[in-house]
Symmetry: C2
Subunit: 554 residues, 2 copies
């Protein structure tokens, strides 16, 4: 009988930024007991996932083994770590553990899906430990851009594993627990460090959250008209800093956007913040002179429906930006969002509003450990193995190189790579099928189901629908219908493309032999070919074609 | 009768980066004679223009006045300045002027559209001047990231106008004409400087092309396996530098991708380069050990079909990247292309190829003047007015602020803003309708025609086609057809969505009153409503719906 082993298997988040989901297992091969760390989402885009609402990891592998899954642990309350919880829980009905603030958000996610929230258990920080099968798991406070983030200390019969979660090394985080160098440096023998890789390419040491306060204060103090500032609502420390800068400059603070209210609400309810400056509602703000207003708005990534974008386009909740106002991006633009953020900046420019971003003033710091901070973490924890997680492939690879350069055995393990941590080196023991699941409206569809592929094709090629009628005598009516969508109306012949297509298909039907007419597939194939070729010569495109054949004889 | 006036009117490029097209006019209001500077394209994306091939400025305004258009001048051979020439020439049949290299590229564009190239006249640099109506226009050499770039010196009865074109201040450009400080500082009285704004937010002075050579040489020298480098093919100086670094390291140089061959070919044919290192073909390269190869590849912006992307995905023209190879991005990622470029970098990481980009080594410099360089240009030219061009709105605005801060009367004039330059201040005299024209396959469609809007809707919402048959007695057959595309197959009821829709529509048709059945619009409207509502409850989405009604009685 094979010996028991300790395994690590990322289902999401390794080979990408977002959608975090990591499996740890212990037991005989194929018969391990499991725990799951994080249940995150990633966000769709027009390029690859048009019309999709959210993206989850494909959980088939763990769902098929749910009888051996003992618990879910959530490291912190960012969407890419907790966002899929309510959606996927029906297939993962095991106890969920998180610290207070995270548990609060996790319960909101569960309640949105009709659960009562009791599925989520609030856990204190270490030394409290949760037993789950062969694992003992403790929440070790770590600094990040959301309160009560935690690394997980996972004790197993094969030794201690440290799962960093998302983190930075910040000894003055502004709000909540500072990074505790002593604690992190005294974890005892650590078998493996599973470690955030997001900022491995950033060469300078990270800056503390405490550094942004004075600069934000200066910017707000020097502003003349209304001030609007945006940042991630979940970055409670930052939102508080912005609010305090507003209050210090004699401005009334207004929270704009649902996430802003929800997050600050959660922070107050869970006792995280007690001294947030008083806020007024947008309605109340309408009666305040603009130079006494400080709006805190959602939408730092340019999201079209969030408060920032709305304000850039005109009135939002009765408030409107004007010449001489100032807009502050206390945030970084995530790669891929440059165009959306640019749209806001340009719209504000047209309104003659001054925009200040993190390139113009030191009003933002990252929540992730930069390269030298990662090295410091390796040195503090002194793990036997390093497994880089949370990052695109190039980041995992660079992080593994960094580990090896520091003398730590390291392995690149993108999603689906099962790594055994039991031996003297990390060893890839299996590749598991992984993928993505799309939330599309109210249903989940597989990334490879073809639904989204068909949408992209329609968007790229446009579409023609052709109606063909076969009468009671099995003769086609030559009077066909063509409907075009997403295609030019006029082609090379200067006649309406619709007319040309109806004419061409009609002519074909008039001369089609009875064998073709009798065979749906054959008829459809031929009509499609005629439509595609006609479109190619008329407008230089081969559209998607639907052929609807109606047979009256049947 | 109104006095004669000098006007400036951007039709493209002002309020965006790309698609440059600027009108200058002189004469009585409404009766001016015109010249056109640049005829550029911009590139589509999935986000806003799926399926579109190229984007041009809407030229209605100038095409309607083509009898008063005297000439077209092309400042340089970048696509966003010359790319639309062949496409739009049929509506702008006037003489085209450019310098030798640019004229060569312009002729290739014309020949692609069936012209013989004689429409383009090659012009020498100043002091040569072309007369065009009331204008005299000279090509003043200026440094940029493509050979023979020129600013235009436009003499008019109202004074001298300087149109900078795209430029940087580079006194050691590597190839071609250095920026001539004396010449630019001695243009005499200048009424208006129309000036590139792309890099106004970059605070440090720009670096010379000459600075990248030694660093590229070092990177190539230290590389072990095959080296692949990418940059814009039109940046002949850079391509030459890369090739020379390869040759110096004892590597054979291979040009990969059509643009690379076309551009180097044009530079050789026009005598711009005489000492380009000898190249071998990809076929020949297959027999050369990989450590003796240096590939120069197209696709620095992540274009899917260009050489770089192909190499990152596997074999391309018989060559393949492997562990230990090096890939060099001697380029900057244009905002919006981060995800595509990231896709290549990650694919290379999976192949264990080392990637070096401009953040890791000083192997790229911009072709545009940074903020301090713009200030220096203002000081050299000492114009009475400044009109920022070529840039997003926020860049035009910032550049105008910079001009005003330096004591130059400045005006923000996005596309469609007609500015009179005749008086003592630049004055906005009219707003002209402008927009975009899409090349879609082989036809041009207006941006507001709805073609692309319909494609985006299909991509976001998916689509249902319903066929309804009304028999000879004007009774609907309740046996309907539904076809779905881009939609989940199963909804909440766990029955196929197609069946559910056919059932619902059939039931409706069975109970529909004769008035509804007799009226196409009404029938269509009601069927659509049923389909949308059914989809909303089944899958949480409202798809696009096509209803095809066939009447046998007709």
């Amino acid at each position: 009988m094979a010996a028991e082993r300790l395994i690590y298997l990322p289902l999401g988040g390794a080979g990408e930024v977002g959608m975090n989901m990591y499996v740890y297992g212990y037991g005989r091969p194929g018969n391990e007991r499991y725990i799951l760390v994080d249940v995150g989402v990633t966000f769709p885009d027009m390029d690859g996932t048009p019309g999709v609402d959210l993206i989850f990891p494909d959980i088939d592998w763990i769902a098929e083994r749910v009888d051996r899954l003992d618990a879910i642990f959530i490291t912190h309350a960012h969407e890419d770590h907790v966002g899929a919880l309510g959606h996927l829980y029906p297939r993962l009905t095991v106890p969920i553990y998180a610290r207070k603030f995270t548990a609060h958000i996790a319960r909101l996610k569960m309640e949105e899906h009709g659960y009562d929230g009791t599925e989520v258990t609030t856990v204190g920080p270490m030394p409290e430990m949760i037993e789950a099968g062969p694992f003992k798991v403790g929440f070790m406070p770590i600094s990040h851009s959301i309160p009560e983030s935690s690394g997980l200390i996972i004790d197993t019969p094969a030794g201690r594993v440290v799962h960093s979660g998302d983190f930075k090394i910040d000894e003055t985080p502004g709000l909540g627990e500072p990074f505790d160098v002593d604690a992190w440096g005294n974890l005892g023998p650590v078998k493996a460090l599973i470690c955030d890789s997001t900022n491995v390419f950033t060469r300078h040491p990270g800056k503390s959250e405490a550094t942004v306060g004075p600069e934000i204060e200066r910017v707000v103090r020097e502003a003349r008209g209304m001030v609007v500032a945006t940042t991630f609502a979940s970055n409670i420390a930052r939102v508080k800093t912005l609010a305090e800068a507003g209050a210090a400059a004699g401005r009334s603070v207004v929270l704009m956007g649902r996430a802003m209210k929800k997050m600050i609400g959660a922070a107050v309810e869970t006792g995280l913040i007690k001294d947030f400056p008083p806020t007024i509602t947008p309605e109340e703000a309408r009666d305040v002179p603009r130079e006494y207003l400080m709006l805190l708005a959602t939408g730092s990534q340019g999201e079209r429906r969030a408060a920032s974008a709305q304000l850039s386009r005109g009135k939002f909740q009765g408030l409107e930006m004007k010449a001489g106002d100032t807009f502050i991006f206390s945030s970084k633009t995530i790669p891929g969002n440059e165009v959306s953020v640019g749209r806001i900046t340009n719209a504000l420019s047209e309104l003659d509003v001054d925009v200040i971003d993190d390139k113009m003033a030191d009003i933002h710091v990252s929540g992730h450990a930069n390269r030298p901070d990662l090295e410091r973490m390796h040195q503090l924890v002194q793990p036997q193995f390093l497994v880089p997680m949370h990052g695109e492939h190039r980041m995992l690879r660079e992080h593994a190189k960094l580990g090896e350069a520091g003398g730590v055995a390291s392995v690149i393990a993108p999603n689906g790579t099962m790594v055994s941590l039991s031996g003297n080196r990390p060893e890839v023991v299996e590749f598991v099928e992984t993928g993505r699941l799309y939330l599309d409206g109210s249903v989940q569809v597989g990334a490879l189901d073809g639904v989204v592929r068909d949408r992209i094709r329609m968007a790229l090629n446009g579409q023609v629908v052709i109606g063909v009628l076969i009468d009671e005598e099995d003769e086609p009516l030559t009077d066909t219908w063509a409907e075009l969508r997403g295609l030019a109306e006029l082609g090379q012949s200067r006649a309406p493309l619709q007319d040309v297509l109806e004419e061409e298909v009609g002519q074909f039907l008039g001369r089609a032999d009875s064998k073709t007419v009798a065979d749906d597939d054959r008829l459809e194939e031929q009509v499609k070919r005629i439509v595609r070729n006609t479109c190619l010569s008329e407008i230089g495109k081969k559209p998607e074609v639907f052929v609807l054949i109606s047979r009256l004889a049947a």
